[in-house]
């Protein structure tokens, strides 16, 4: 009985882990610059990679400096070539810490949000 239960658990866990093209909450998987990182050269864009595909509607990203001033060009949107990716171009950045705020709507209409900082070295 116990072995059967353990086997069922493993099978179900494997099912839960299976990859899917779309259809669940879009959570941030990776970012460039990386979450909480310090970079030596000012990046020209921020690229966010999510765990699921994004809908353009309600999906946005904003980058602000330590004073709360927008430093992105307002062109953040899902990448048409890979809808799990969102990119936004940046104005020239001075050394300092910047905050990235993102709001995502996945293809099944579930919302997620998050924010993180990265630092540009002097």
């Amino acid at each position: 009985m116990m072995r059967f239960a353990a086997l069922c658990f493993l099978l179900a866990a494997a099912l839960l882990a299976r990859p899917s093209p779309a259809g669940a909450h879009a959570e941030l998987d990776r970012a460039v610059p990386a979450v909480g990182s310090t970079v030596s050269a000012a990046p020209r864009e921020v690229v966010l990679t999510f765990t699921d595909q994004l809908e353009s509607l309600f999906t946005r990203v904003e980058v602000t400096d330590s004073a709360g001033k927008r430093v992105d060009n307002g062109d953040g949107k899902p990448d048409p070539a890979d809808r799990s990716r969102m990119r936004v171009t940046l104005k020239p950045l001075a050394p300092g810490t910047y905050r990235v705020n993102w709001y995502a709507l996945s293809s099944d209409t579930h919302r997620t949000e998050g924010d993180f900082t990265f630092t540009v070295k002097p």
Partner: protein, 329 residues
């Protein structure tokens, strides 16, 4: 009595099918399982998260040796618990649950059967995304005589309860690495339908029947957990480079306590500490924890609990992704 607070209503399943059909093609953004701002609260292993959601626990497996009581010997309990919950409105859900038990005492035959059906109703009355705070209130009803004779109790038990969750994402930058921490808690008071129950016993030799009256105790139940979310760490604080499957882990420490407020065990606390791990995916989560009794009244042996929990709103978003009735645009 199960620790998990179920919430549900049987007849709503038919309503669910009809309502869901009408909502399949709506495109408004939806909130689903327990996302509160940046925070995701996974379902607890031994007690539920504070949100209402479309979810299925199938099953929560547990195995532990329970101490004997008076004339009853110690026994091993293996349990498979099931619970289905469905949102009726954005902030209101119903659920139904039960558990299949296998009981084995030394020198006795194995007993198996179903616990009583448990219905529940839950209202998520406060959600503060910026503060990562959420609270819900509910009523759980364990229906007497709906389980297997000798396993399920004969008395219906009503348990009003309150659940809360708080993430620490608003901590200052100086302690940013503590932001992935979250705490959840619940408190409930189990009130039996009848204060006492009359039981009968027949003497096999003489045929004489004796009656005795036993108190059905009211029981205060409280649970809390502290958890550290690796997904939160990597997405909102610092990408430490963990890859799958470690980037989806949530180490958790849960605590369960019970205390009868009347009857022979009045004011005697029993409790368990459950150190464990939860692994979350797109469609559900797997949780495993040890069950460590806090005192001899609770038991002397370490048990185990494992949870398989499905996020129905992500598995079948067109059917379960939305509440049956929308109250908000």
């Amino acid at each position: 009595m199960r620790t998990r607070f179920s919430v549900s209503m049987r007849g709503t399943l038919a309503l669910a099918a009809a309502g869901a059909a009408a909502l399949v093609f709506t495109a408004a953004p939806a909130d689903a399982h327990c996302f509160v701002g940046k925070r995701f609260f996974p379902a607890g292993i031994s007690f539920d998260d504070p949100c209402v959601a479309d979810e299925l626990s199938a099953p929560v497996f547990s195995h532990i040796k329970e101490p004997g009581e008076e004339d009853e010997p110690a026994r091993k309990r293996t349990s498979f618990e099931f619970e289905f919950s469905k949102r009726i409105f954005e902030d209101f859900a119903v659920s139904v649950g039960t558990a299949y038990n296998i009981l084995k005492a030394r020198g006795e035959d194995r007993r198996t059967g179903w616990e009583n059906l448990e219905l529940g109703f839950r209202y998520q009355f406060l959600t503060l995304p910026k503060s990562e705070f959420v609270a819900s209130a509910g009523l759980s009803i364990e229906l007497g005589r709906t389980g297997t004779n000798g396993i399920g109790e004969h008395v219906t038990v009503f348990t009003p309860n309150l659940l809360v969750g708080k993430g620490f994402g608003d901590l200052p930058d100086s302690v940013a690495l503590l932001r992935p921490i979250a705490v959840t808690g619940s408190i409930g008071y189990a009130i039996p339908q009848y204060r006492t129950s009359l039981t009968s016993e027949t003497d096999e030799d003489t045929g004489e029947v004796t009656f005795s009256r036993a108190i059905n105790p009211r029981v205060l139940q409280w649970n809390f957990s502290i958890q550290y979310s690796i997904p939160y760490l990597q997405a909102n604080v610092r990408d430490v480079g963990l890859e799958a499957p470690f980037n989806r882990l949530v180490p958790v420490l849960e605590f369960n306590f019970e205390m009868p407020t009347n009857g022979p065990d009045r004011n005697r606390v029993t409790g368990k500490v459950l150190p464990g791990l939860i692994w979350t995916s797109k469609y559900g989560q797997v949780g495993v924890a040890a069950i460590i009794p806090i005192n001899s009244r609770t038991g002397d042996n370490v048990g185990v609990i494992a949870q398989l929990h499905f996020y129905l709103d992500d598995i079948a978003p067109s059917v379960f992704g939305k509440p049956l009735f929308r109250t908000r645009p």
